[in-house]
Symmetry: C2
Subunit: 140 residues, 2 copies
């Protein structure tokens, strides 16, 4: 994409998204090559624009009420591979290349609790000690 | 799972889920073997319970304000393979075996609009004519 096109690109993408009354849309992050679903978070218009402009995934943190450049403090960034929009525009699928781990627990993805044989089972190991990720206690 | 365990199973699963103020939680449906992300919809407590009890995926339809047995009218059902819960309990990943197509447009998945080279591009073909799926105009 050429720099001169950015405004137009963003406008057409933003127009295709149905943000909820809070101005947010759920965004599913999927590892582009393996198909692993890494996490789900929320984007507002600014997060979508920053993701497209920077090539690194940004979300809107509902707990901090601020733009969240994923991995800014932990180093576990997500390089944007492709942004997709669902049939009614109210969910995004973000194909990414995840650096390290997506989950703040230090696991590769956030969906490590499975219902198996009638019990909740933890099915993934911690790959990076969260203390290594968040020296300052910030979740990112 | 044994029938006698169902109550206990459901309770522990329900307790692990953080439903939003509307009593809903986003649920991502992923084809269990290919990794294809099919759709995102919402579940309430009843939808989770019915999904676990029946082995077929149920959602909560926000537009119809009613329980939605996916594929009940269209035949495009989702057999439950595994239910997973994310790290903070506010998103579900549902591994399924999708019969036919997941999307009401007749495409295999709902995420067929991609941002490529600065434009919105339709990247999947219609596999089943929606008229074949919804003779009565009901979306399911």
């Amino acid at each position: 994409m050429q720099d001169s096109d950015k405004g137009t690109v963003n406008d057409s993408v933003i127009d295709a998204i149905s943000f909820d009354p809070q101005g947010l849309v759920p965004a599913i992050a999927q590892q582009h090559d393996s198909g692993e679903v890494l996490m789900m978070a929320w984007m507002n218009r600014e997060a979508v624009e920053q993701t497209l402009a920077s090539g690194e995934v940004h979300y809107w943190s509902r707990s901090r009420n601020s733009l969240w450049h994923k991995g800014e403090s932990s180093g576990q960034t997500q390089a944007l591979k492709e942004l997709r929009i669902d049939c009614d525009g109210d969910t995004l699928l973000v194909l990414v290349d995840q650096k390290g781990v997506a989950c703040h627990t230090g696991r590769r993805n956030c969906f490590f609790t499975a219902v198996r044989d009638g019990t909740l089972e933890t099915i993934a190991e911690v790959e990076i000690d969260p203390k290594e990720l968040y020296g300052d206690g910030t979740k990112s």
